[in-house]
Symmetry: C2
Subunit: 109 residues, 2 copies
DNA sequence: TTTTTACTGAACCATTTAGTTGACTATATA
DNA sequence: TATATAGTCAACTAAATGGTTCAGTAAAAA
């Protein structure tokens, strides 16, 4: 899936994850999103563009402002991909727990 | 979380996701991992290094071979981060479903 | 109408990334 | 011992990334 490339890449930047976290509280204008960060609005606009290209948010033009809101689809796809591994890590943690509690002491080495 | 940067960045490459998928079937040597790809082993080694740095897999030196296996922790952290948004996308899909089925027609535009 | 606000676009820069090649080390095998 | 195998390391390249500045447009407010 080529789309997962864009989604995970978009999520790999702390600024962009903070933008998404902000949008959990609801819709925001570009300038509102930019305000908390120590960088130019142009830079934040680029981050928003990356998130938008990945389908993680939607930008709506309204007068002279741009309003952003979360878009669930892409994030769900990323989560679905990871969930394939869930059984694996659950089992791994179970093994660790068993090892720590000694509930299964018969181990080779 | 700085670690999430590395984890999501590592997951944003299809080759690396394929390597992780391969490791779901069990441990593999570096040369085994490299075989399916149309690139040099050096390139694959670099991908493995990225995955290792992100904590997504573990490399064990054994004789002249290197054996790789999945490491669940980092993947779980990424999944946990995404799960914060789960309620959001569930709700969004519910809204969509309601809209499509017309089960709640009274909507302000 | 003038000015401010919200944002865009192009050009530029430094750093990182994903790949290559070629020379090397270390371990098995014949 | 000689040779093949598994992998490392350094150097290089091209493209992508994350930031900047500056000039411009379009909408709202004075």
């Amino acid at each position: 899936m080529k789309n997962l490339d864009a989604t995970f890449a978009a999520l790999s930047d702390e600024t962009r994850r903070a933008i998404l976290a902000r949008l959990m509280e609801g819709e925001a204008r570009l300038s509102d999103l930019a305000a908390p960060f120590d960088m130019t609005q142009t830079a934040v606009t680029k981050h928003v563009r990356v998130l938008s290209d990945a389908g993680l948010l939607v930008v709506e033009k309204r007068g002279r402002t741009r309003h952003c809101r979360l878009n669930a689809r892409a994030m769900k796809e990323a989560s679905d991909w990871l969930s394939d591994y869930q059984s694996f890590w659950t089992q791994q943690f179970d093994n660790l727990a068993q090892h720590l509690t000694g509930s299964r002491t018969r181990r080779s080495k």
